[in-house]
């Protein structure tokens, strides 16, 4: 049974139209004309309990707007949302107790107070009993390594420390659903890895349903089995990461290092279906092939028949290339 159900969701924003020219400012002030933009346009999906879903899209694609509607702080212009059986904006108080939100670019902690004070306050706001509070805090201190700076004012924390503080704040009351909006943005490699590890643990051990938006595709490859990709407010893809790669990036690249011959060797020629040579020098052969149409062993056999080979590597397409592909195709379709 899905814990999040989104049907034909629409969000429009209106802003007053700016009039150019003489007295433009004054005329904009008195005119009633406005421009309507659709940030989210007929989005539908459903997410099951315990899923960890990547919600992807370029800047301004409508990701954050969707998250804000899911968390109840924006009211949809159309369509329906049900989160754990509730309409988020109508039942905001109960919904709030059920969800945790982490924004990489912002902090929910109180800037000029020690981290511990913020955590205590959040415990009270979310009605966590003292005993459960202590238990959860101990676990989070352990998992996130925040023990060393609990008494430091938040404004003096490094970005990585602050992020850990924010993750602790969001999980302190064990919400059923966690929205992570670019949680690794700006973090160094170690901090990124630590964040990912925590997210994975939370999902695995507590069964928390997680929606993750990010621009770092390494996050997605590491964490998500399923992704939803949106662009210009519409869902372009919803499915598994492997299916996405299969559909949008069927090619694998084969990089073969050749042993140099005594005489300049004739170039390798391959007349195989589903193989194309990209680059060829005396010592290197770079080609791409479609694994559905030809087995990699057939290619290698063909190459070995012509030249001595010293090294072979197969390069999987990365998600970044895939995303570029989808956006470009999406634009062609539109």
């Amino acid at each position: 049974m899905p814990i999040i159900q989104v049907d034909h969701l629409v969000k429009e924003f209106q802003r007053p139209k700016r009039i150019e020219g003489a007295f433009g400012g004054l005329r904009s002030l008195v005119t009633r004309q406005s421009i309507t933009t659709r940030a989210v346009n007929d989005v539908s999906f459903s997410i099951d309990r315990g899923e960890l879903v990547g919600y992807l899209g370029s800047n301004g694609a409508g990701k954050s707007t969707t998250i804000k509607m899911l968390s109840g702080i924006l009211v949809p212009s159309g369509g329906e949302i049900l989160v754990d059986g509730r309409v988020p904006w109508r039942d905001r108080e109960m919904n709030a107790l059920n969800i945790g939100v982490v924004f990489g670019q912002r902090t929910q902690l109180w800037w000029d107070l020690p981290l511990m004070d913020s955590l205590k306050l959040i415990g009270k706001l979310y009605r966590v009993e003292p005993e459960r509070f202590r238990k959860n805090l101990d676990r989070l201190v352990d998992q996130l390594g925040i023990g060393g700076f609990l008494q430091t004012p938040v404004r003096q924390l490094s970005l990585g420390q602050r992020m850990r503080g924010d993750l602790a704040a969001a999980m302190l009351y064990e919400p059923r659903i966690l929205y992570l909006d670019e949680p690794t943005v700006g973090l160094d490699v170690v901090a990124k890895e630590r964040t990912r590890q925590f997210v994975e643990e939370v999902n695995r051990e507590l069964g928390t349903t997680i929606i993750l938006t990010t621009h770092d595709l390494a996050d997605v490859e590491r964490l998500c089995k399923r992704i939803i990709f949106i662009d210009k407010g519409t869902v372009l893809y919803d499915g598994s990461v492997s299916e996405l790669k299969r559909r949008y990036a069927p090619w694998r690249v084969l990089d073969i290092t050749l042993q140099p011959g005594d005489d300049p060797a004739p170039p390798v020629s391959l007349h195989l279906d589903g193989v194309e040579i990209d680059e060829q020098t005396d010592t290197r052969l770079l080609l791409h092939f479609d694994p559905e149409r030809i087995a990699v062993t057939d290619i290698i056999t063909a190459v070995i028949g012509q030249r001595a080979v010293s090294d072979i590597s197969i390069i999987e397409p990365d998600l970044e290339g895939v995303v570029r592909e989808i956006v470009e195709q999406g634009e062609v379709h539109a």
Binding site: K68, G85, E93, M94, Q105, R106, Q108, L121, L125, R127
Partner: protein, 279 residues
């Protein structure tokens, strides 16, 4: 899908969230302490205001000891108490809302299980409590620059305490209404300046209502601002204009209740209006 009974942001929510409200207040107390230098500066400013008003009103009275049944001493005590009180009854709810909206932090506030207006009230409560120790600075300043006397009678003193509490509520309410306008305009510096200007005048802290020209008095009398300074301080100095304290307190309490409904109305609209800046 059956319709669930949604909990409303009413008194039920208030009791459910009592601990959360107290914790928010406690936190604001700690923050208020960090800005104590600002507060001291504010008190110095109040001292100067009281001093200037004292000179002005002494000159206005001239040789007379009483005008329209108000003695010069009553007048000076009125000015001192009114301005002192205003220093402590100026919530910063509007500023808080504006900052949170500008920084895009309002999203977090709205995501809390405690309705936003309650968070604001809790914050204002904490700020006020945090300010109280500053009376140790403010009272001597008021004593030196103005005229500080005990209340006119014991009953006046008791009524004043009650009236002061209501004055605080009305001050927070009005301040919140101004702040919530930010949900529509997003930019409200001009609006706030107007509010401060009109507000300062209409509270009666500079000129008590009994000395205002008829035109102004008639306007100010139908506005809620008088509940912040004029009503409680009049009671304190013996209520020379209204005579008895009962109707004055009733009028004040009436405004406190009416404004609750105004806020509920504005809030339910503002809530649908939410546009989080950035992100």
């Amino acid at each position: 899908m059956s319709a669930q009974a949604a909990p409303r942001g009413g008194l039920g929510s208030l009791s459910r969230n009592r601990e959360a409200i107290l914790e928010v207040a406690r936190m604001t107390v700690r923050r208020a302490y960090m800005y104590r230098i600002n507060v001291v500066m504010g008190i110095v400013l109040t001292g100067i205001t009281i001093y200037l008003l004292t000179i002005l009103w002494k000159a206005a009275y001239g040789d007379r000891t009483e005008v329209d049944g108000v003695s010069i001493q009553q007048m000076l005590v009125y000015l001192t108490i009114a301005n002192l009180q205003l220093r402590f009854l100026t919530p910063e709810v509007d500023q808080e809302i504006e900052e949170r909206i500008r920084e895009g932090q309002i999203g977090f506030d709205l995501n809390r299980p405690l309705p936003y207006p309650f968070q604001l009230v809790a914050g204002a409560l904490g700020q006020m409590v945090g300010l109280l120790p500053m009376l140790a600075v403010a009272l001597p300043v008021a004593f030196i620059f103005g005229e500080l006397r005990p209340p006119a009678t014991v009953e006046a003193g008791i009524a004043y305490v009650a009236s002061l509490a209501i004055a605080w509520i009305v001050a927070v309410e009005l301040n919140m209404i101004i702040g919530l306008v930010g949900f529509w305009t997003l930019e409200m510096t001009g609006f706030k300046m107007m509010y401060r200007l009109i507000g300062n005048f209409a509270t009666g802290a500079l000129i008590p209502l009994w000395f205002m020209p008829d035109l102004f008095r008639n306007i100010v009398q139908v506005l809620p601002f008088q509940a912040i300074a004029y009503i409680p301080v009049s009671i304190y100095v013996g209520n020379p204009a209204m005579g008895s304290n009962g109707p004055a307190l009733l009028l004040q309490a009436g405004w406190a209740v009416v404004l609750v409904f105004v806020i509920r109305l504005i809030w339910s609209r503002a809530y649908r209006q939410t546009v989080i800046q950035g992100g």
